[in-house]
Subunit: 278 residues, 2 copies
Amino acid sequence: METVSQTRSNGGMQGVYRHRSRETGTEMTFSVFVPDHAPGATMPVLWYLSGLTCTHANVTEKGEFRAACAEHGIIFIAPDTSPRGEGVPDAEGYDFGQGAGFYVDATQTPWAANFRMRSYIEDELSALIGAEFAAADMARQGITGHSMGGHGALTIALRNPGRFRSVSAFAPIVSPLNCPWGEKALGGYLGPDKNDWRQYDACSLIEDGARLPDLLVDQGEADNFLHEQLKTGLLVLACRKAGIPATIRMQPGYDHSYYFISSFMAEHIGWHAERLKA
Amino acid sequence: METVSQTRSNGGMQGVYRHRSRETGTEMTFSVFVPDHAPGATMPVLWYLSGLTCTHANVTEKGEFRAACAEHGIIFIAPDTSPRGEGVPDAEGYDFGQGAGFYVDATQTPWAANFRMRSYIEDELSALIGAEFAAADMARQGITGHSMGGHGALTIALRNPGRFRSVSAFAPIVSPLNCPWGEKALGGYLGPDKNDWRQYDACSLIEDGARLPDLLVDQGEADNFLHEQLKTGLLVLACRKAGIPATIRMQPGYDHSYYFISSFMAEHIGWHAERLKA
């Protein structure tokens, strides 16, 4: 692992790091914010998975998470959203290929070799964080994310019961099986058999028996993607049917941008802190 | 005045606006954050002047000011740093010409026609804000800024006694007369007579008798520009000699970036709020 930069901010250190990934076969960049702490102390870890087109940089610059993480003593990890680079397959459009990994392990040519963001996040990067950041207490992890990254957070948490003490999302894609972004991405990465998609669909995972202890979701009512792509209502129904105590808040006037995310970031971090530090 | 965008954020409205400026002869863009308020209510106004290369967008995206402004009920205004566009003179380098207006009224060819950022901020944009934003109480104004914008905030406040109830700065250029950025910019915009520069030099203005009621400055100790360009020590001495009760804080480990600015933004806004709402 190579240090790209370390910048003091909000009583902690905002780092950007790069490493050669075995899963994606590429260099991968991610950011980690570590609040100041006593020597030898450890802190819980909060994963933030980003949305379409984003790298680690968007939330790192615009997410407004550092003050709350420093206040609560939480390490904040922001990975990239896909492998990138000249040797990596790509497609026209912002919603498939580079910048749009959808947190799956692709099975289809030409994507299968590099597009392994599920294993990258669940296994490889988790192990790297545990090995390289002495302050990271990997027994206390939370996960959140935005849009495609909210989908990533929900599905990773649902597939790994007990691993995340706290789960939240900002404007998540709740059911790729039921929206154009999901049809395109899961079809492209996983092929036409929709049974293979269910492990990457939060609502299907819940329908198939996966559970979360609880859940916080914020969704802007003025979000352009709400009705065609995000379909928050499907998650409300799935949680209700499954008895998952989900707090799903519709926020009047808010859109899909970082102006929305940053507005509710401190509340999400507080919510994770309650569970991670209980 | 034309609305470029209005986005709900942090319990308020983040707007971006454009207008044809009489002073600069160009279209000028600026941003205004207005916290939610009761119909007919008015709020104090805080100006934020940006540094070299910046537009309104840098602080608007990365400044982390909205939560604190919403909490205290303060309108936040972020202008551009110079006229821009094809018809506007420019120079090689990031520290002179477009993006580097230095908040002066230029007297030299070819700059004098457009580079009138002093009059633009002090007169034209102030009048526009007062006319267009019913919630803005122009009798209660504060001013702050970063680097070149810190220089702008200090010099505008010093030249306009009584107009700003609160003044602060992040890593300001405290004496353009005594640094390479200032030599280049003031020499270029104002010509070689350094007597003409003193009205645009915070330390000289104080030496020549201008006063502030008090002042808050934060300066990163790991700021690459500290020793050659910013020279905070000169402001410490000038304030001490003049009896200005300045709180000038050296912040260990912090650099010149928005990671530094955003770390102390909420404290600055709280400090302005105390004075603007007293």
